[in-house]
Symmetry: C2
Subunit: 82 residues, 2 copies
């Protein structure tokens, strides 16, 4: 068994209203950072996986994302295994 | 003025207890995904910046992170400008 480091970027799907992002954007405007727009806030997960190969590690993390870490109905996720 | 896409990975600093990560780890164990450990949960922010150069865009996003998006006392952030 090897240990792999994995990271997962979880973003809201296009077309899903990002209330938290809009709030941050308004707050940035109120402190005069007008140059920033289209703020979208997602999650970034770091983890360690024990598996025989990077491919198996990737499939374990995919399962974890689908079942628990992400909400596949409204979120997309991208996994990187190192 | 050019438009740049930026992304920011925000992670809890080492040594800061990640309660959310621990909870997810226990939940993964309860659905028999024992191979995953050291779960740490951060934020992933995507945004658009208007600036003359990528360097200026980077410094605007750094300011936004320090003032509002991240909490520099307990969080580290990494900015990528494309």
């Amino acid at each position: 068994m090897n240990k792999y480091n994995g990271s997962v970027k979880i973003t809201l799907r296009k077309g899903i209203l990002d209330v938290q992002g809009k709030t941050v954007e308004h707050a940035l405007n109120s402190i005069e950072l007008y140059m920033i727009s289209n703020v979208r806030i997602g999650k970034y997960v770091e983890l360690t996986v024990e598996a025989d190969t990077p491919e198996i590690a990737h499939s374990i993390v995919t399962e974890a994302c689908k079942k628990l870490i992400a909400n596949p109905i409204i979120e997309d996720f991208e996994i990187i295994i190192i």
